[in-house]
Symmetry: D2
Subunit: 368 residues, 4 copies
């Protein structure tokens, strides 16, 4: 099977998420990175390309130039990964979509609702695919949970508890020259959401993905605990889903001791499911009135789809992320595939927008 | 040291919480049960008294009669435990308070705010003590957490996550002749709160006890998922504390797999604390930027106060409950003691009242 | 139901295990402590008796005197708890057994095999009962495990992993005036076993109790890591059971971080069971090829026998210990009861003896 | 940085460990698979090569032919991964070593001691490197544990508890046509060790790697519980280390509920460490007399070396395995590197040999 030729926008030296995308793309040997506009600073773009072993000829400082040139090459890129700060997603993605190059884009979709809507139009007008890396949907146990609910094993869903807690912004890191913190707390580059855009969207997306329900309305209380911070670093909200479930969602980047605490708990008439990202190979299934079951990835009662190694051999974040890339490869190859789409991205933007509006109105319920 | 002579109202055969109070009172040998009005049904009262080895002469079918007679006995009861359904608390307690008999009363304080306010007056007018069995404050690790926060180990508190989830009302048990379910879902006997009155008050009380802050206002979404149920069986809410912290609280009795899932997580500028009632001998302390610590009851970094046995020898629910009784014994003996008072009980009633009002106004913020 | 009148030998002020026995005896209100020879030092005996509210008239400095006098009293003790250092067990127990007073005795049975054999004869000659407080067999989940194996849910047992690790003797505490450490590391008072006598016997007893098999032979490597210590503080051994199972047993009091780490894992042809004393309300059941189950005390798939409160309300060490006392009360009352007997005590002594012999012969297999 | 050209012997379609090696080699983009003798069956070799996208010209059915031809190619392989059943390791490795091609070989080193000794000579005579994939030493927390011990944080090591338990051979899978089970239970292909060769060697290697001590002698009890099985499926043993530590080791493939339960616990004078492979991102550090610490990969108190992503983003088995490959790449590039060598492999063979001998002599202590 030949590899899909991949370009990358953003992800130069020191960028955490760029390296993640590259490993994920490589994991199952379905992609080959052949071009990059890894930084908007020319020298940094070249250095980064060199470090990755890219042909200098295909190392660009400008993503538009990359799109224009690659589309004309005989062996030009077939897909591009966009891993820039949020405000660049839309403008970059459109350059590739309009040239028929598939886009694999980081979340949240864009920095503004206006951009998001324009990008949806661009994607709909393109024959190329748009894949959003809501990577946590790639975890096998998450997909298993979704299937169990679809199969009715929990009965009608009643309660959803979603949370995503971190601690890395407990102190004003953005004033200390930390680049990640700087752009993620800057409305110009991140958009209107702080923790809710960076991580709350993941929790929202995961809750919807697994339950098969959409959030119909929410009531939010956003807050920045760190003095001077412009965007929320902690958010509380109550949710109502279109299928009748109710829920709560907590996102925080100021909760000491929480490294990457994405956690989902779902309860229905007949049973419950609990999953934690930091322990991703397990899923608790609690059928009402029966013993609690700990399902394991690849093991008894657990899934084998999307796994590479047997039960007891832990897979992690990179393998879950790689599953999104592998699904993308399948989709590009015209095979059946499950992956987050631009519409999931738009839902995420609506979620951020509703959070900000609700909180601005002191928690009034806002429809998505 | 001579034992305090104790009477009991309610707690006849089959009553879960009555048996708990008796074991708790006995644990440290500070009380002796000598009289009881264990049921309002005379035969059941007598049978229950007999089963407990009470003097038939001091086994009553009417708590008023017990109060009147015991107060005149040379060795009459010095204290009484009230373990009836909620709507009886106030009327019973007043009979003993006005006769100078100390009252140890189950929570929530009463079924209605009106009753609560009257009972506060009665308690204030009495020279006897009023102790509310918000038993979870008796756990040594909870007291240790409170002390750590008071000592400033977490810095200013920012975020409080409190939850109390159970599953025993997942199905309409109250229609199947289960007595506990029947009164706890009946507004006449329980008051306006379902899950919030039965268990949400514990979570609320614990959050306030540990942080040293009071809930200033809340926004709630109460719901009864089981068709026909008159009181909430699931409640979501957002909290604002008077010290600047913000929080969320979830109480549910329809979350399959949750047996008695009371859990508290608190995050401040400098660190976090996490505690779960089902694993009560441990407290996670996460000073920001340092390794996570698992503090153990009786062990390194953990408390020895309120413990009876060394680290690694687990204590549980009964021992925590017994600590409330032992504090009550200390208070009755005129020694320093920490225990939940009638004012904590009134705060709990305000909490229930605010929840119901807020939910009735579609989640508007309501002050307590 | 009237309470059984209980005396106590040993257990004066500061003695950990004496206080445990008293709480355990009181838990279910089946015993009443009415007499004591709490210390061999007269003043300490009196002080300790006073602190416990004992009648000074029934506070003795000599257990023989207590036995002689109590047996003649109209309401003299019916049973006695012996909670002294090991070397006193036999001589004290015989005084009561020969007078028809039931004996509830701490483990290990005695300090020497010779004493053990004499005590067995004394017990067999007496009409009184002898109950050994191998308290860990009182945990409901342990009894449930035993029943599951007896019911064949694991098939034929193959592998037994037993361990009991503590850390309190990591340093030479016995040279620093710590009384517990002093007698437990002294061959005169403890017998030939250090960690194996103090805690290894519990692990051995539990493994046999749960599997229903006896250890037929063992190969042991005992060692004292702390310089100057006379008895083993760490022991490794391999086991062969009479029912065909094989096992390992580790006991240690020099393993930092282990507070009271008694743990049992049992694997058969059809499934496995795992239990840890520090988390005693749960039992893992792993039927081969099926999802892992976490059984809970009082909950779905778990036992209600021997429990006092519902699932999710943790019981602990004292409740498990109390179950031994309650079984003793039942036995004394002539009802069916399950409790560790003097023969279990003799098995424990054979275990200690075999360990010492095997280790002395560089690990040669020694029959019990 | 250019990639190292890699060949592979074994690892055709359906072979678990071959796929693992390929992902591990690819993870950090330091190797490129360019040739393979993936099966000794010519058609399967070609099919497997095709599935992997290998040049048919460099797809071989015979590893000797591959060695001979590749060494003469301008861009021939620089290194080869050997992932066959054990009995082929030596003969294949020698073909490459003698031609100066680096060998990355699966464990155990060989099927027999004789083969092992010959292979050591061949490796010593070659200028090429020999890297053994004792992959569990690649986990960052394991390397951190090793460093902590080397730094004296535990003081002198006293006790080592190592175990590796699985359940996949609980039933006679080898008689049901399962290929993995067939060769792993066959003395001709696996050598004299069953569970001890397949997994016990990992536990042995890990214990030595982390403590920095070697096993000096051991006493073993090997057993095959499944009727008709020729090699041990369960092994118990006691260990004595050359630095004074003592230990136990349990390996089992018949322990239901254990998926891949490799676990290491080490206790010294000053503290303890505990690690479990199924939860590899954490390391428990228990300094005596201080609170227990849970160190996290990439987090406070934990290592960042050998990690790719931040704390809370779990890495797993493949990332740990990849670290061995990346160290191999560093070594091949002449940079400092830590990896298991042929001498570790020989130690593993001595371990298997000693186990078999000791068990044959009913557990007599055998020197390694």
């Amino acid at each position: 099977m030949s590899r899909i030729r991949l370009g990358m926008v953003g992800g130069g030296n020191d960028a955490f998420i760029g390296a993640v995308h590259r490993i994920a793309a490589r994991m199952d040997d379905r992609f080959e990175l052949v071009a990059g506009a890894l930084s908007s600073t020319p020298e940094k773009a070249m250095e980064s390309g060199k470090a990755l072993g890219l042909d200098p000829d295909r190392t660009y400082a400008d993503f538009t130039e990359m799109a224009k040139r690659e589309v004309r090459l005989k062996n030009g890129i077939e897909a591009v990964a966009i891993v820039t700060p949020n405000h660049v997603h839309a403008v970059a993605a459109k350059e590739f979509l309009k040239r028929g190059i598939h886009v694999i884009c980081d979340k949240p979709l864009t920095a503004t609702m206006a951009d998001a809507r324009k990008l949806v139009k661009a994607a709909e007008a393109s024959k190329a695919l748009f894949i959003l890396t809501h990577n946590y949907t790639g975890y096998p146990m998450i997909r298993h949970a979704k299937q169990m609910i679809a199969d009715g094993e929990l009965g009608e869903i009643r309660v959803v508890q979603a949370e995503y807690a971190q601690d890395w912004l407990t102190q004003p890191l953005e004033t200390e020259g930390q680049k990640q913190a700087a752009w993620r707390t800057d409305p110009e580059r991140s958009g209107a959401g702080g923790s809710i855009g960076d991580i709350g969207t993941h929790a929202h997306n995961l809750a919807c993905f697994v339950t098969g329900q959409k959030v119909e309305s929410l009531s939010a209380d956003l807050h920045a605990f760190v003095p001077g911070r412009q965007l929320d670093d902690n958010a509380h909200m109550m949710l109502r889903f279109d299928g009748g479930a109710r829920g709560m969602l907590w996102s925080s980047q100021v909760a000491p001791g929480n490294e990457n605490g994405l956690r989902l708990r779902i309860y229905g008439e007949k049973g419950g499911l609990e999953w934690a990202q930091e322990d991703p190979n397990y899923l608790w299934f609690t059928p009402f009135g029966e013993p609690k079951q700990k399902l394991t990835r690849g093991g008894a009662g657990g899934p084998t789809d999307g796994t590479r190694i047997p039960a007891g051999h832990p897979e992690g974040y990179l393998e879950g992320f790689a599953n999104i890339y592998t699904e993308a490869a399948n989709a590009i190859a015209g095979k059946p595939a499950v992956y987050p789409t631009i519409h999931d991205g738009l839902d995420g933007m609506k979620f951020i927008d509703a959070c900000v509006k609700s909180s601005g109105r002191n928690g009034a319920w806002v429809k998505l």
